[in-house]
């Protein structure tokens, strides 16, 4: 595994140990020039982008699968999931492995981000409710807007963003031939 991973993991542990009270820790990362955050408790690890196997007949936001120590883990292109363009792989592109819980089952899903920034503590009082519009992504994907150094960070409602059911449904529609309008309706 790359040095990046070790460094990031170290940061994660360090930040965790100083936490407490109403302040939660968030992993922040950039995506298409914007800053996003996910609750640190959902994050399992961060790995370098690479060795991805594409899965045919899937929507663009499902980039493929990777081998994570013997387990096959899907990787979601977060920018594409938000309805934007497919992310280009850059020098600092990495995959954040997130654990989501759905119907009592835990799934590990990788999210592809442009770059991981840092682990931040954001006090609850500095988190605003999500705006009705204007954030460019679906409102239900946003858990809140965190104020960090006078700027807003979008804190993601990662369980919604990575809803396995919803994504599987989208994948199904995709497979039933996107050129066929009737199929999508079905």
């Amino acid at each position: 595994m790359s040095n990046l991973v070790k460094a990031q993991n170290g940061a994660v542990t360090a930040a965790k140990s100083t936490g407490g009270g109403d302040t939660h820790q968030y992993l922040t990362f950039t995506l298409g020039g914007e800053m996003f955050a996910v609750g640190i408790l959902n994050v399992k690890e961060i790995i370098e982008y690479g060795n991805l196997t594409e899965i045919p007949m899937m929507p663009a936001f499902i980039r493929g699968v990777i081998n994570l120590r013997g387990a096959v883990v899907p990787v979601v292109d977060l920018a594409a999931r938000f309805g934007g363009k497919i992310s280009a792989v850059q020098r600092r592109t990495c995959i954040v492995i997130v654990e989501v819980t759905q119907e009592d089952a835990r799934h590990d899903i990788g999210i592809m981000v442009d770059a991981v920034s840092e682990v931040l503590e954001i006090p609850a009082r500095d988190i605003e409710p999500p705006p009705a519009f204007g954030a460019k992504i679906r409102a239900d994907f946003i858990a809140g807007m965190g104020k960090v150094d006078g700027k807003f960070v979008i804190i993601l409602e990662i369980q919604r963003v990575l809803s396995v059911d919803e994504m599987a449904l989208l994948a199904n529609v995709n497979q039933a031939s996107p050129s066929d309008p009737e199929a999508i309706a079905a």
Binding site: N51, P56, P74, D165
Partner: protein, 735 residues
């Protein structure tokens, strides 16, 4: 739920299956003693086990069954068809009781209890009345013989009294005989064993002391208090234990612990305590010779018994035999248990995951060794790889179970259903030894059940109709299983009326599933039965035809990544073909690549490989030695980026009886691996059966060739068909 209860429920279910099997065999005329004994033993085991875990309502109910079985076994009653039906109902009720145990309730569900009461009453009606008279008669007839000595009567519905008189009883002017005889005023002494173990050697024996003890089986309606009162005068001078009828095994075991005869071998005490006598004794008699030998063998290494040597000879030979049989049985059971270990399924999964990783790690070590060019290292790693592969094979085998057990359950279903329908139907099973993954076996039961019932209800015609058609009056239902192209195929075949396309079409139009005037092929029409809300029978029976039939079957099978097809011919019958992947099974794959991606094709679907020659192709077909072979170009089909190489290759596959070609860039050869499921996110994905991890750590996809060819066919159809056909094609594919 505590583990002991789940283990109990599981084991009880196994016994229940054994009972049911036996009963069904009996009904088919197999009424030998061995079958009957097997049924009885199963019931007895359930009763005993439920007593040990103190689930008394199960124990109580099983006891009723056991009583009836005992009568059959003793030849006191003849088995009848009604009796078997009642016994099977009894099994069902026990099953229902176990369901509740599985749900974590130790009490009885009142609703289930009410149903059980009716069954119990039916069962009791068979034994009732005659019981006491017959029992008494039996004892009478066998005075001084085996039954008397060994206590071979239905003991557990009797009181059990253990009494050890104190040394001074006689000197104090009390007469044990008088007390014991008085018991006759309360009921019938079914059995009495006199124990003189406490008596010392003759020189030391005090002629005025009392050394005797008694184990008494009393059939009586008396209360415990009444029985205790019999011994009121000597109460302080003796040790008295009274166990009420239907006491649990635990109580008997408790009693054994309290009995002073600690030198007695366990078997003898169990026999004496009357808890589990009959079976042992029976076996003892049957294996008289074998048991006698073992009795000798087991007695010899107990020299410390001293004066009990005499005692041993004192014990009736029947008891020794029973005890010996018991010991033998215990040994047998121990060996059987040693051969079987229960392991939690997730522990197995974990092991298989680890072994899978081991295989992958081994493969990459192999690669590195080859790159290094060191001969000895290559050799060492290849030996290691071979061993790891063996381990993987064995590990995977652990999860494979035969489908036979699932099939056998249908003996009962077919029997009951055919009675209910008034049809005479034979069930023929083939391929029971076909293995598939346990997780698949668990989930295939329901769809199969529905298909079987449907075939009996709607498929096979009533006898008079069959006769009119000139068919054998007896219907025939087949359950087949076999391996094909890396899948397991399960067929449900009936020789009934077949599916009538015109009727189905009319119904589908009526239900709004298709539009009038739609042109559909016969097969397409037949496939409409898998649509939601379809049921052809006018009359809705309670077996099937609730309108939630075939579509549920199809959905369930698709959830297992399987397919279901039907082939039918009017008046000849229908054949439902379920094709399931062997998830988690060892997959022998053929590794290919397209661009940077690797794809594994299940080896048993591969027919041959050849180089693709452009001049032999036309559209998506190629000329295979004069044969037209449709092919799928994976590069196109999967939208793989990049230009194809100069020379492409074709893997000719056969799936579901159809041949097709899969065009890939490179052929990389055979390869054995562990299937890694792709997970829920890809649950709707068809054409890909799973994934596997290559030696390089890269994930390769495993093609589901069957689905892939279908998918390609549909894509083509969509492109080629007029618009109204699209609707139908979509419909038949809709989930």
């Amino acid at each position: 739920m505590e583990e002991i209860y789940s283990v109990f429920a599981q084991e009880a279910r196994e016994q229940l299956t054994a009972m049911e099997d036996g009963l069904l065999r009996m009904e088919q005329g197999d009424q030998d003693a061995e079958t009957l004994n097997a049924i009885f033993r199963a019931a007895h085991t359930i009763k005993g086990a439920s007593g040990v875990v103190e689930i008394h309502h199960v124990e109580k109910f099983t006891h009723i069954l056991e009583n009836l079985l005992d009568k059959l076994r003793n030849g006191e009653m003849q088995v009848s068809s009604d009796m078997i039906t009642a016994l099977l109902q009894g099994c069902d009720h026990i099953g229902a009781l176990l369901d509740r145990v599985d749900q974590g309730y130790m009490d009885e569900d009142p609703a289930v209890a009410a149903a059980g009461e009716a069954t119990a009453a039916t069962l009791r009606a068979f034994t009732g009345g005659a019981a006491t008279a017959e029992q008494a008669g039996m004892v009478e007839a066998s005075v001084g013989t085996v039954e008397r000595a060994g206590g071979d009567t239905a003991i557990s519905d009797c009181w059990h009294i253990s009494i050890r008189f104190g040394r001074d009883v006689l000197r104090m002017g009390m007469e044990p005989l008088a007390f014991l005889r008085y018991l006759l005023n309360l009921g019938e002494i079914v059995h009495l064993t006199t124990l003189s173990d406490a008596m010392p050697l003759a020189e030391d024996m005090d002629p005025e002391a009392c050394y005797l003890g008694f184990e008494i089986t009393l059939r009586s309606h008396a209360t415990k208090e009444q029985i205790e009162n019999v011994f009121a005068f000597c109460r302080d001078e003796c040790d008295l234990y009274i166990l009420p009828p239907n006491s649990k095994v635990g109580d008997y075991l408790n009693l054994i612990e309290h009995l002073p005869e600690e030198n007695m071998r366990l078997g003898e005490i169990l026999v004496k305590s009357g808890a589990i006598t009959q079976e042992e004794l029976d076996q003892g008699l049957r294996r008289q010779k074998a048991a006698a030998k073992i009795a000798e063998a087991t007695e010899q290494p107990t020299p410390q018994l001293g004066d009990i040597l005499v005692d041993k000879k004192m014990v009736q030979p029947e008891i020794v035999e029973a005890a010996a049989a018991r010991q033998k049985q215990v040994q047998e059971k121990k060996t059987a248990e040693a051969r079987l270990i229960r392991v939690q399924a997730d522990k197995l999964d974990q092991l298989i995951d680890l072994v899978g990783e081991l295989v992958i790690a081994g493969a990459s070590a192999n690669l590195l060794a080859q790159k290094s060019g060191q001969g000895s290292l290559v050799e060492a790693t290849s030996v290691l790889s071979r061993l790891v592969e063996n381990i993987r094979d064995s590990a995977l085998q652990l999860r494979m179970v035969q489908i036979g057990e699932t099939f056998n359950r249908f003996n009962r279903v077919v029997r009951d259903t055919s009675r209910e329908l008034g049809k005479d139907i034979d069930l023929v099973i083939s391929g029971a030894e076909t293995e598939l993954d346990k997780s698949v076996v668990e989930k295939i039961g329901d769809p199969l059940m529905h298909l079987v019932r449907n075939a009996m209800d709607h498929g096979i015609e009533p006898a008079e109709v069959r006769e009119a058609k000139g068919k054998p009056v007896k219907g025939r239902l087949e359950l087949n299983a076999y391996h094909d192209s890396g899948s397991i195929v399960i067929e449900v075949v009936d020789d009934g009326g077949g599916l009538k396309a015109d009727k189905i079409q009319a119904k589908a139009i009526e239900k709004g599933i298709i539009q009038p005037g739609q042109t559909l092929s016969e097969q397409e029409i037949v496939n409409l039965i898998f649509e939601a809300g379809f049921s052809t029978m006018e009359k809705v029976s309670n077996l099937s035809g609730r309108g939630v039939g075939m579509d549920v079957v199809k959905r369930n099978i698709q959830a297992l990544r399987g397919t279901v097809d039907v082939k039918t011919e009017v008046d000849v019958g229908s054949r439902f073909i379920i094709r399931l992947p062997l998830t988690l099974a060892i997959i022998d794959g053929f590794l290919t690549s397209v661009g940077d991606a690797s794809y594994v094709i299940p080896l048993d679907s591969v027919v041959e490989c050849l180089a693709l020659q452009d001049d032999a192709t036309r559209g998506h077909m190629l000329n295979l030695r004069g044969e037209v072979l449709p092919f799928i170009r994976l590069r196109e089909f999967f939208d793989v980026e990049g230009a194809p190489p100069q020379r492409e290759n074709v893997v000719v596959i056969s799936a579901g009886g159809q041949k097709a070609g899969i065009v890939v860039d490179q052929l990389l050869g055979e390869f054995q691996t562990v299937i890694k499921p792709l997970g829920n996110l890809f649950k709707h994905l068809r054409g890909i059966g799973g994934s596997t991890i290559l030696g390089s750590g890269e994930v390769a996809l495993i093609l589901d060739v069957q689905a892939l060819t279908q998918l390609a066919g549909q894509a083509e159809e969509r492109r080629a068909s007029p618009p109204q056909r699209i609707g139908a094609a979509m419909l038949s594919e809709r989930e």
